[in-house]
């Protein structure tokens, strides 16, 4: 692969009074699923908008498929803004044709593609209805179809899972995995890191407009080591925090997370625990992206602080 699908170099965008994105550089490898992660207000949407030429960066350059971003390059991208992005009072079928048309697909060709898509998403009976007559889940399917109709090579989805019910999340994940199999490049933004990390090959974590870390998910995690043990048991586990090599114990109700010091031996902890408690689970796990994020942002290890970053809508 000669070029990244998308490459940002030193991109900065300031609004009046505050810097939304600060000197951000990143590369999205072709054919990968790339996660743009960070809490609300981190600058994710601003970044995506700059890629889509909705906003112009103050400084820095953006390349798409190896060349400076222009209309032809952007036509190779399917962009789904966070929630909606469709005309509520427009008939579904016409809306889809229109959305493909403004992306450069000929009208007749667009009309031919709409039918199979509606079939696939189970919206055939709703083709002639106005969008606002559909349920929210169905509207999201239409939105997905609108993003994919012009058969883009790159998909940029801003918070694709927010506001979806469990069935909707599964449908969305299915479609995304399917697109990945087809070799498309996917860029997802999300503040729900747990959901997205399962899907992503590579990520960038940003906070307050600045990059905190980036790289392949596996590589990022190994960088932070296997320093956490999860225990589920019956009995009083208060002694755990006093064990040698244990830095911290986070109680999550049904289980506890034990954060170990570098070089500590999980086996000795297991032996102690097995001797004094009725253990039903002992597992040494990788830290979650969420934990890594919290550690990097606050300088503390994660655990009981869980939920700080994903809570609260900006």
């Amino acid at each position: 692969m000669a070029h990244d699908a998308i490459r940002l170099s030193g991109v900065t965008k300031a609004y009046q009074g505050h810097v939304a994105v600060k000197d951000l550089s990143l590369g999205v490898p072709r054919g990968s699923v790339f996660g743009l992660l960070g809490p609300n207000g981190a600058g994710k949407t601003t970044t995506l908008r700059m890629v889509m030429n909705i906003l112009a960066p103050d400084t820095g350059t953006i390349e798409i498929l190896g060349r400076a971003s222009d209309q032809a390059a952007r036509d190779r991208i399917g962009y789904m803004p966070e929630e909606r992005g469709l005309y509520p009072r427009m008939v579904v079928e016409e809306q889809l044709v229109f959305m493909a048309e403004v992306k450069g697909v000929a009208r007749s060709e667009a009309a031919r593609r709409v039918g199979p898509w509606l079939d696939r998403l189970g919206l055939k009976d709703w083709a002639k209805r106005k969008l606002n007559e559909l349920s929210k889940g169905m509207q999201q399917k239409v939105q997905l179809a609108a993003t994919l109709l012009h058969e883009p090579d790159i998909l940029i989805l801003d918070e694709p899972l927010s506001g979806l019910d469990p069935v909707g999340v599964n449908l969305m994940l299915d479609v995304l995995l399917d697109l990945r199999r087809q070799g498309k490049t996917l860029v997802l933004s999300s503040h729900q890191m747990e959901t997205v990390e399962r899907l992503c090959d590579a990520i960038v974590l940003i906070n307050r407009g600045e990059k905190i870390l980036d790289g392949a998910v596996a590589e990022v995690k190994s960088r932070y080591g296997k320093n956490t043990a999860v225990l589920a048991f019956e009995g009083d586990g208060a002694f755990l925090s006093a064990l040698p090599g244990v830095l911290k114990v986070g109680d999550f109700g049904r289980y506890v997370e034990v954060t170990m010091a570098d070089g500590a031996d999980p086996q000795s902890i297991l032996r102690e625990a097995a001797a004094r408690l009725k253990l039903s689970r002992f597992e040494v796990v990788e830290p979650s992206l969420h934990d890594i994020f919290v550690e990097r942002v606050t300088g503390h290890t994660a655990g009981v602080t869980s939920g700080v970053t994903s809570g609260g809508q900006a």
Partner: protein
């Protein structure tokens, strides 16, 4: 440009298929017709019910004349006999009849009515302009005729001698002379009010469309697919075309109505529709002296041209250079305003949160 065309087509189709378009396009002419035909239709219906009156005459010389003159007036009045007795008794009895609804009202002439020029009308309803006005004319004419006869002069002869001439207004234009009874004026007023109504309506439609696109984030998809100028002018062209369609439909209705109205009544039946516009302040100025420097200047100002230049055209035939100048100025103003609007639109569609201040909007225009 094909994408701007797609946007225009979408705006046009969504525009002309919307319920509000269908309602306004059909109801507009109906309301217009109601304005023009309604008042005269109402008045002629009212004519079916004559006023029941009685006359109490203290002077002894007016009763007969007034009664016969009232009866002669297009059967608008039914004269009931006045009760016997003194003037006070008669008045009291009639007041009771009026209160009971057996009588609409009565006229009272005191003994010195003719010399003092006084007369009184008693009725439950004293604000019925049409009929009371007619009755007042009858009473006044009768008083004057009585006095003339008392002096030995024939009232009909006075009428003949004092009759005023009927002055026809003939407009001289390059294509020939023709009589103008105000029809052109009314027609232009109606057309202009339609123009302004539809401008206000479509202006609001564009605004709502922009707001909707913004709140639904559709605009992000659009802006990433084409330059904002294409999006802007595509929308403008589409909505403009929808507005023109409405105008064409309305013009058809107008033709139909004018045919119907023409067979029903003359220009007299036309009522001027209510046009509450600031520009109307200049109407008297322009109509009073359509060729004065002030009128010419006002009619050349782009915002006023559509109204005032047309108004002048109904009054005089402005020289060609003025028409050409007004068109050029309008085109320049439209192009300039569109340019400014497109610049503001470009920045404004992506602004969320606080409402921008005027200086900020001015800055948007100069934004790179």
């Amino acid at each position: 440009m094909t994408r701007a065309f797609c946007v225009a087509r979408r705006e046009y189709l969504e525009g002309v298929r919307s319920k509000s378009f269908i309602v306004a396009t059909v109801l507009g002419p109906v309301i217009m017709a109601a304005f023009m035909i309604g008042p005269s239709a109402l008045m002629s219906r009212q004519r079916g019910k004559p006023l029941r009156l009685a006359v109490v005459d203290g002077s002894g010389v007016l009763k007969e004349d007034v009664e016969s003159a009232l009866v002669a007036r297009e059967q608008r009045f039914l004269v009931e006999p006045a009760p016997a007795g003194t003037l006070e008794q008669a008045q009291a009895a009639l007041k009771q009849k009026v209160m009971a609804g057996d009588l609409d009202g009565f006229l009272y002439f005191p003994g010195d009515a003719l010399t003092q020029s006084t007369a009184e009308y008693y009725g439950k309803n004293v604000s019925n302009m049409m009929d009371l006005g007619l009755m007042e004319d009858v009473v006044k004419d009768t008083f004057v005729a009585r006095r003339l006869r008392n002096e030995g002069i024939d009232p009909t002869r006075i009428d003949t001698l004092t009759r005023r001439p009927d002055l026809k207004r003939v407009r001289v234009t390059a294509s020939g002379s023709r009589e103008d009874r105000g029809g052109t004026f009314f027609l232009s007023i109606i057309l202009l009010s339609m123009l302004y109504t539809s401008l206000a309506m479509w202006g609001a439609a564009i605004m709502n469309g922009v707001i909707e696109e913004k709140t639904n984030r559709v605009v992000e998809v659009m802006v990433s697919a084409m330059p904002t100028t294409q999006l802007f002018f595509g929308k403008l062209a589409g909505v403009g075309a929808a507005g023109l369609t409405q105008f064409v439909v309305w013009a058809g209705f107008m033709a139909l109505i004018s045919v119907v109205a023409g067979s029903m009544a003359t220009a007299q039946g036309f009522q001027m529709p209510e046009v509450s516009l600031l520009v109307l302040v200049f109407f008297p100025v322009v109509l009073g002296s359509p060729d004065s420097t002030l009128s010419v200047t006002l009619s050349l100002i782009p915002f006023f041209t559509p109204l005032l230049m047309f108004l002048r055209m109904t009054a005089v035939t402005p020289p060609f250079w003025q028409l050409a100048a007004s068109v050029v100025l309008m085109v320049v103003a439209i192009a300039g305003l569109n340019w400014v609007a497109a610049r503001i639109y470009r920045v404004g569609i992506l602004m969320y949160g606080k409402r921008p201040t005027f200086p900020e909007i001015v800055r948007w225009v100069g934004h790179r």
